[in-house]
Subunit: 556 residues, 2 copies
């Protein structure tokens, strides 16, 4: 039973003294989620109520199946924006068709997550390197931030894939600004920042939401063109199956895959950091299954894709959540709000929701990380910058793809042209080191000791051959080449073939090869290729010293 529904485990041994923390966290997150859910739904091009629907059943499902005790799932800014910018290619924003496609996307994302979880494919998120993610997130935050300009200015902006389109359009329409809307928007941005800075115990979004509703209602600002949320259909969402056909699914699949990956990466990162604080383990496959089920169930009840969010989970943790019961409490409160309190939000100005999104994503822009990467490793820094710029210019989907391809190219280029060092003997320390870094290292005219700092595979053998041929060509007295294999962690069949050819060719030139420090896993592969029989005397040495002793160049 506890294998089928992991929640059984923590429910069985639930400690009543955790209830206080769970209850207070559940309530605070619910209060936070009302404006956030509506704001993110708007960002995704959906009616605000869909955002509220998304924090009911999916939260409960995750609480039952997840492995994190404090992760607060729900709509997140990044995923919402990706939905907003991609689904618009399939249907008109706000239409019934649009909502249907988003729900279908939710179903697909759920299925992808579930399958990845069942097949233990969580490691696949490593496709995207940290630098790509960091550059992408900062750019996406800028795009999201600027996309809210229309709500703050109170004008219609068609927007586009890139930030620059948005800015140009906003400037050209600056004359149409609705002044009351702008004042509300700017005021709530100031309030959100200030309350965040003084670490107010009252949730800032709640303050601006209540303030916004009161101001619009009391001053009757709707009449002067301030856009409000309006009617939110009350009640619990009814069961419905997203409509689909094969063409739809084919077209949505790349989007669904991208969102499923990005969403899961954010979620697992948050879950792990919270788990580390409370010293327990996160099971990434179980997380995938839980998120998958949450989205599948959600898609049948008008919920759009959810995943674990940074800010929300941090609030959940700090408010004392000890078990997933906190999320269940949140979900119950959301259902109560949906059943009885939606009319309260009628006068909520959209500018307030826009400002909540803006301030939320502002924290995602990470300039420090870029600086840090450039200090530690330039190539990682450039990957971040390239991904950042390409995301700004090409939009989120193409941007992250471009960043990924660029990072892969850097990686392939590096592994195709690996670092190779000629070693000399440091007599005092008794070790072999790069002669370019240790000028005192002793070398031998008839022996070249070469260390290769990369696993060998088909793609870098050409480079290695060239380098070794150069060495053989340059040195007249050369009799032997010793390859230090201590840095070679892996080898493939093609490179073994190339090595054999190289050895035969060099033998014709009277240069012999020796191999030192071959590791177990590489030894196993060489055994399969018959090297124990054919080159036993060349690969038997455990260290470079042994070979030099055998050559009588070094004393035992």
């Amino acid at each position: 039973m506890s294998n089928l529904i992991p929640a059984v485990k923590w429910l069985k041994k639930y400690d009543l003294k955790d209830l206080k923390g769970d209850l207070s966290a559940g309530i605070i997150v619910a209060i936070m989620l009302v404006p956030q859910g509506m704001a993110y739904a708007m960002l995704a091009g959906l009616p605000p109520v869909i955002g509220l629907y998304s924090v009911t059943l999916p939260l409960m499902v995750y609480a039952l199946f997840g492995s994190s005790r404090q992760l607060a799932v729900g709509p997140v800014a990044l995923v919402s924006m990706m939905i907003g910018t991609t689904v618009v290619n399939f249907a008109e924003t706000g239409s019934a068709e649009y909502i249907n496609i988003v729900l279908l996307l939710s179903l697909l994302i759920g299925i992808i997550n579930l399958l990845m979880g069942l097949f233990g494919l969580g490691f696949l998120v490593n496709f995207l390197s940290h630098a790509v993610i960091s550059g992408f997130t900062s750019a996406a935050a800028l795009i999201i931030g600027f996309s809210q300009l229309k709500h703050i200015l109170g004008v219609n902006l068609a927007g586009g894939h890139s930030v620059f389109h948005l800015i140009i359009e906003a400037i050209s329409k600056i004359g149409e600004t609705n002044i009351p809307t702008l004042i509300i928007g700017l005021a709530s941005i100031v309030i959100l920042f200030s309350l965040k800075k003084i670490k107010s115990p009252i949730p800032a979004p709640l303050v601006v939401v209540i303030g916004g509703i009161l101001v619009v209602r009391l001053l009757n600002l709707e009449a002067v063109g301030v856009k409000i949320v309006g009617d939110i259909p009350g009640g619990f969402p009814s069961f419905s199956m997203p409509e689909f056909n094969l063409r739809n699914i084919n077209a949505l699949l790349p989007v669904a895959l991208t969102i499923a990956f990005i969403g899961f990466m954010e979620s697992i990162a948050v879950a792990k950091s919270l788990a580390a604080k409370d010293k327990y383990k996160i099971d990434s496959s179980q997380e995938l299954r839980a998120l998958g089920l949450a989205n599948i169930v959600g898609s049948f009840f008008s919920a759009y894709p959810v995943t674990g969010g940074f800010g929300r989970s941090a609030v959940n943790y700090q408010s004392g959540a000890k078990t997933p019961l906190a999320s269940i409490i949140t979900a119950i409160l959301m259902i109560i709000i949906l059943l009885y309190f939606t009319p309260l939000f009628y006068f909520l100005p959209r500018a307030v929701l826009g400002s909540i999104v803006m301030v939320a994503v502002f924290g995602l822009i990470d300039i420090k990380e870029a600086k840090h990467l450039f200090e530690v490793k330039k190539s990682d820094g450039w990957i971040l910058v390239v991904t950042f710029i390409s995301t700004l210019l090409l939009g989120v989907e193409s941007g992250i793809l471009f960043g990924f391809i660029y990072s892969l190219s850097v990686f392939i280029k590096r592994s195709a042209y690996p670092h190779i060092a000629e070693l000399g003997y440091l007599e005092e320390e008794g070790v072999f080191r790069n002669v370019e870094r240790y000028l005192e290292a002793k070398t031998y005219s008839q022996v070249a000791i070469i260390r290769i700092d990369a696993s060998l595979y088909f793609a870098n053998m050409n480079f290695l051959e060239d380098k070794l041929c150069e060495i053989v060509g340059d040195r007249v007295n050369l009799k032997s080449i010793i390859l230090d294999f201590s840095g070679i962690n892996d080898i493939d069949a093609v490179s073994i073939g190339s090595l054999e050819e190289l050895m035969t060719e060099c033998k014709e030139n009277r240069v012999e090869f020796y191999f030192a420090g071959i590791k177990g896993p590489v030894r196993d592969v060489l055994k399969g290729a018959g090297w124990y029989e054919n080159y036993g005397d060349k690969i038997k040495y455990l260290s470079i010293e042994d070979i030099l002793v055998d050559m009588k160049l070094l004393n035992d």
Copy 2:
């Protein structure tokens, strides 16, 4: 001048005694190219004459700009088939629109190759591993072979993306077989194989082409339903620009990229193997520029994509080609044939062309390679098999993509869960080795010596942390962990951060970290991260011995 047109170099110092070889190779390749060009064009869904156009100007352009002396460019089976199976999605086979799209594809491929050459991106072909290529080629050969069934049987087969569709359709239509066509087809297959086996000096394709023409003409087989090549418009192709719009280009780009990659991989592999035989160098960027220009120029003169071919280049080399003049001679002969001799091929049966393709691709199926890979390295063998099966089931484009993603997954999985060994001291040899492989290795209760066989990056740090925490948890007396960094060829900023955290945590448990044998490139990165200041005493050691001596566990 010789930088702009590399041919100037070899033309300047052309040795007249090379002329005999170049002339004979040029003639033999031309004879071979007439049927091959027509057959491959048919495979690509094009009128046979396009295949002849493709071996005129593009050959001359390649001869002027390429770096290989013996590479014979022209249409190849693999690329032709990829064109045939993909362009059919954009226009009806054989229509003017179809031809236009193929020429546009040729232009795109040329531009991609040229750009890759100008930016020195030849290393990008390493995206595809050897095992993927091998599995893909074998599967594609099967698909190509079976796709010729319609010509051999003389029936109309719509075909599909997968081999199984083809076979099922062929069986269902077996009753419609045209017996004379079948006899011609089978006879030419037998002749092609036999002449190949006895290493006949007369080119086998020429024999079956002449035989086929004579038989059809003398027995008037056209009247009994044997399909023939028919009218080939004579004369040199006129200049024309492929028509295009942005939507076309967008849709064709993935196809063009795939073909450009695959085509270049085949070409560079052949060029390199011939260059190795004659001991000269191939410049991969120059090759890309030459192929790019050849295809760009070709696309303006009704030529479809060309690249260096295996079989043809081997024939060129064996027939004595010494310089690219051989290819220029071939091209001139082809132009003469186009001007005066196309009516000769009127009665050529299509079944003969089909049999030439079938026999040509049969040689590409490589079962030995699969066996070899399984013997040497199982995971590479599985990559080959997965790519082979996915190509058969999903078709060439999706098949190679699937194979690529699978090979990437294997790679990522392996680097996310690297091999980690605990080391012990072999007193006799004075080296440290895996205690599981060397049971006699001496260990110390208060020190764990751990060797990590992978470069460290964000994706494998979790695994490493888990492993190290396990070790710290298991051993009560543990005071120090020595990490052997000799196998760590690279490190990224995220993993440095994780290591720092780990060291702080373990310090609380009174376990200290030491690092041995850090390589230069890794040292540089650690320096950037401030480790020289913060952990100078932990990373100063060149070898594990030094640390143990300092700990007084080993004598100096």
